[in-house]
C-alpha cells in the first residue's frame, strides 16, 4: 500500500481524473472531498460490505417462505 502524508487542503491525484482533497481534520476524523468523473462511483466501504452481507443472507430465502408470505398478505388484505 502506498502511504502519503497530506495536510489540510492538499490533495492526491489518482489516474488522470480522480482527485481526493483533504478538506479538514478534526481529532480522529478526516473530511475528504472527491472530484471524479460521473462514471466512477464512490461509496463508504462499510456500506458496500453491508450490502455484500445482506446479499449473502438473501440467498437463504426460500420458496416455501414466499408462498407463506403470499398467503399471509392475502389474509391481511381480506381482513
Amino acid at each position: 500500500m502506498l502511504a502519503l502524508t497530506r495536510r489540510k487542503s492538499e490533495s492526491i491525484i489518482i489516474g488522470d481524473n480522480v482527485e481526493i482533497v483533504v478538506l479538514g481534520i478534526q481529532g480522529e476524523q478526516v473530511k475528504l472531498g472527491i472530484i471524479a468523473p460521473k462514471d466512477i462511483s464512490v461509496h463508504r466501504k462499510e456500506v458496500y460490505l453491508q450490502i455484500q452481507e445482506e446479499n449473502k443472507k438473501a440467498l437463504l430465502s426460500g420458496t416455501n417462505a414466499l408462498n407463506e408470505l403470499g398467503a399471509l398478505m392475502k389474509k391481511s388484505s381480506s381482513e
Partner: protein, 154 residues
C-alpha cells in the same frame, strides 16, 4: 437453454431474456447473467409488474434472490441514485421509464414476519437493453435491513 435451479428444478430459459450484470452483484462478482422469474416462469418486458420476482443466476442455478417492488408497499420510497449508475444502464428519462424496473432484494427467513428488504441497494434493470445493476442509493435514512412487518405493526 435448460437451467437446473435450486428453487424451481429444471427450467427452460429464453436466452434473449438474459439480463447482463456486468459487475455481478456485491458478494457475487462472478454471477453476471440473470433472468427474472415469476414463480418458475420467465418474466419478460411484456408482463405486468408483480410485487415479487426472482432474480435467478444463469451462471449458477443455486443462486437466486427474491426481489420486492418496494414502491408497492412504500409508495414514498425515493432512492437517490448516482448519474454514474446510468452509464451502464442507459439514460433514464420520462420517455423510456417503462423500460426500467426497480426492485429491492429481500431476506425472507422461515419466520416470514422477520422479512427484511435492502432499501440502500436497489436493483435496477433496463429491460430494453437487458442490463442490470445493483446500485447504492445516497439516502442516509435507508437501511440495508429494513423490517417491513415491524412497520405494519406500528
Amino acid at each position: 437453454m435448460k437451467l437446473e435451479t435450486t428453487h424451481f428444478g429444471e427450467i427452460d430459459i429464453d436466452e434473449t431474456k438474459i439480463i447482463d450484470f456486468d459487475d455481478g452483484l456485491p458478494g457475487f462478482p462472478s454471477d453476471k447473467r440473470f433472468v427474472l422469474l415469476d414463480g418458475g416462469r420467465e418474466f419478460g418486458e411484456d408482463d405486468e409488474p408483480v410485487p415479487f420476482l426472482w432474480l435467478q443466476s444463469v451462471t449458477n442455478g443455486n443462486i437466486a434472490f427474491i426481489l420486492l417492488d418496494v414502491f408497492a408497499v412504500m409508495p414514498d420510497y425515493k432512492p437517490v441514485l448516482n448519474p454514474s449508475d446510468f452509464t451502464e444502464l442507459g439514460a433514464y428519462s420520462d420517455e423510456c421509464k417503462e423500460d426500467f424496473l426497480i426492485y429491492n432484494i429481500v431476506v425472507l427467513p422461515e419466520d416470514v414476519k422477520k422479512m427484511s428488504v435492502n432499501l440502500v441497494a436497489p436493483v435496477i434493470i433496463n429491460q430494453n437493453i437487458k442490463k442490470g445493476k445493483q446500485v447504492v442509493a445516497n439516502n442516509s435514512e435507508y437501511n440495508v435491513r429494513h423490517y417491513l412487518f415491524e412497520q405494519i405493526d406500528d
